[in-house]
Symmetry: C2
Subunit: 371 residues, 2 copies
């Protein structure tokens, strides 16, 4: 039976899904890793264990970050680790800054503990640091600033080196923590990496990432490198909440890395996703030049687009659905409200043909609604 958004037999094109391409999952390799993990570490990975997580994987992450493995907390995905940070650091009466727009689920997690969450508007090279500094000078000092510096969700923006340096300097001067969420960083299709916020200021930054975008989300293996003063508190929060995350899944990731499969896997993800980014940019150039402006990212999962004239979101979503297109409500990404003119365009889980057709449909809907 056709779904409501399936028109004339065409399945809808889902521009909602910030997920990896299923065809990218290394199923056979993961099966082998699971067998080895169980054969070599069965009694450990099937039992309860310390909340920090499977030590061999913590060791690899610690080495990559130049920290002790006791500073690494593996978790059940990185969103839940963010929840632990929120519960540990925030609460009613506390202030958190996020980029605006930012990852909607992270904003929810911060807000859910009763904190005030305020957005610092994003520019093409990262948050408006002049505004940030003005606020800080006025005494609006946050407990933390949640930032996705590399190929930001939902905008695709890359935080410039100058702004990275400025933000860590402000964090030191005004004494706030930075949560750096970097799940897309290693999915860079062009040009070279900038230093992470963590590299610039390891003592102030919670460095968070996961293997969801690099291997598979189904493993639910994320991690955070924790600044020393908060290690005990966060590990204790994890233990009190779920005892420990699955060592089995952590050992599968460890085995995948030990087998030398992570780098080739990232290379094939880039080979799969780069043409999809190019297809999205080409389609936008072709269809949207007079309707909107957008970021031109060098990596990641998303292009954030801003319509030249806002459209009532309900009408946009409904008309898109009628045209066989699923869109995410852009307002969820805006902590201070607004977002009517914002459209997040994920490109990794769609083929170039679907991307072209999706953008064509979207342009048609926008034109019609603006006419």
């Amino acid at each position: 039976m056709p779904t409501p958004s399936m028109i004339a037999g065409r399945p809808p094109i889902r521009l909602t899904r910030g997920v990896p391409a299923v065809e990218s999952f290394p199923i056979a390799q993961l099966s082998e890793c699971a067998q080895v993990a169980l054969a070599e570490h069965g009694p450990t990975v099937l039992q309860y264990g310390p909340a920090r997580g499977f030590q061999p994987l913590r060791g690899l992450i610690a080495a990559e970050h130049g920290v002790s493995d006791t500073a690494v907390l593996l978790g059940h995905g990185s969103l839940l680790l963010q929840d632990f940070c929120a519960r540990a650091l925030l609460g009613p009466g506390k202030l958190a800054y996020v980029e605006e727009p930012s990852y909607d689920r992270a904003v929810t997690v911060l807000r859910r503990v009763g904190a005030q969450v305020a957005g610092i508007p994003l520019q093409s090279d990262g948050p408006d640091v002049e505004l940030l500094e003005r606020r800080l000078r006025q005494g609006e000092r946050p407990t933390l600033f949640y930032i996705i510096p590399d190929f930001q969700n939902p905008s695709g923006t890359l935080l410039s080196l100058a702004k990275r340096q400025r933000i860590v300097a402000l964090a030191a001067e005004y004494d706030f923590w930075i949560i750096e969420d970097a799940p897309y960083r290693k999915l860079r299709y062009r040009r070279t990496d900038l230093p992470t916020l963590f590299q610039l200021s390891p003592e102030r930054v919670f460095a968070m990432s996961s293997y969801s975008k690099l291997i598979s989300p189904g493993l639910r293996v994320g991690y955070v490198v924790i600044p020393e003063p908060h290690v005990g508190q966060l590990v204790q929060m994890a233990e009190a909440t779920y005892i420990n995350a699955s060592y089995l899944n952590q050992a599968i990731v460890y085995q995948f890395i030990q087998n030398g499969w992570l780098e080739p896997n990232i290379a094939s993800l880039k080979a799969l996703y780069a043409p999809r980014l190019d297809a999205m940019l080409a389609a936008l150039d072709e269809q949207m030049a007079d309707l909107a402006s957008w970021v031109r990212p060098d990596g990641g999962f998303f292009i954030g687009m801003t319509l030249n004239k806002p459209i009532a979101v309900e009408a946009l979503l409904a008309e898109a659905r009628n045209a066989g297109l699923e869109l995410t409500d852009g307002r969820g990404f805006f902590a201070n409200g607004g977002g009517d003119a914002f459209v997040r365009l994920p490109f990794c889980a769609l083929t170039p043909a679907e991307i072209h057709e999706g953008v064509r449909r979207l342009a048609g809907v926008i034109r019609e609604l603006q006419s």
Copy 2:
């Protein structure tokens, strides 16, 4: 190097560990299940999915409980599901009842959201329902009552049928929810099951359990059957907190059950654990008759023992350590304070020889401290 609690080359006997025996883990079977789960459901189990969890496993649990599979929420262990219940139902100004003693981590989870948590003292057949009713009549109505009816943690107590019926009747009369936590229920070594609270009153009971004690804790697969009015809220809480728990692990459990391996696995757990329970009871009869009283459970992981004369807990733990014995601080199980005279004795992860030696050491320590 010897650890502080390793005396004269003897490793300490750990009476702290409420964990399954590692030798019970069906490693080879789980490896096969992982392969089949990945081969048959790879794209599904490696991708993000709806927060409710892997449908085939939800289907089995729903059938067992006689509910729709939409009422079943699979989660990353059942403690985190309890956290979801606490966050959804409780908060500052709300009251929760627990048995006293109760599972220390559950008490923490309830208290952490700002709720008042009060203990209803346990008797040999379950909580003191006269006291409960008196409190209810006085207007001390809780939002929920957290109960472990079968082989309770930490006491080993079985809730009698009469009290089960009385508690669900009181829940209806005074309009509160029951969270029934039943991880040990299927580990009954003698006699026959009583009806669950859920069976007596499905509309008022959150029925919670997990595969941690029946297959392996490392899988972190728990579940809750949710009363209809709260389904949406809890599923939404799970999604907002971690998007979804690992479908891979849920599919491994599903495959294990589909292969017909769960019942034989439970049978071999019983064959392993029943003699350990017997050894613990025999050792207590032999060593502790004049020092303490204890529950004689027909299943589960624990025997709760109450000393005839309380001993300062710090002294008990320290002297036990000197005698090569690790004990849990009994006070953590008591929501209203107290617990100085309470000792939890887990027996599943120790051999009969370790159990005899552990109880012998413990009796020696108690005698010395009371002399």
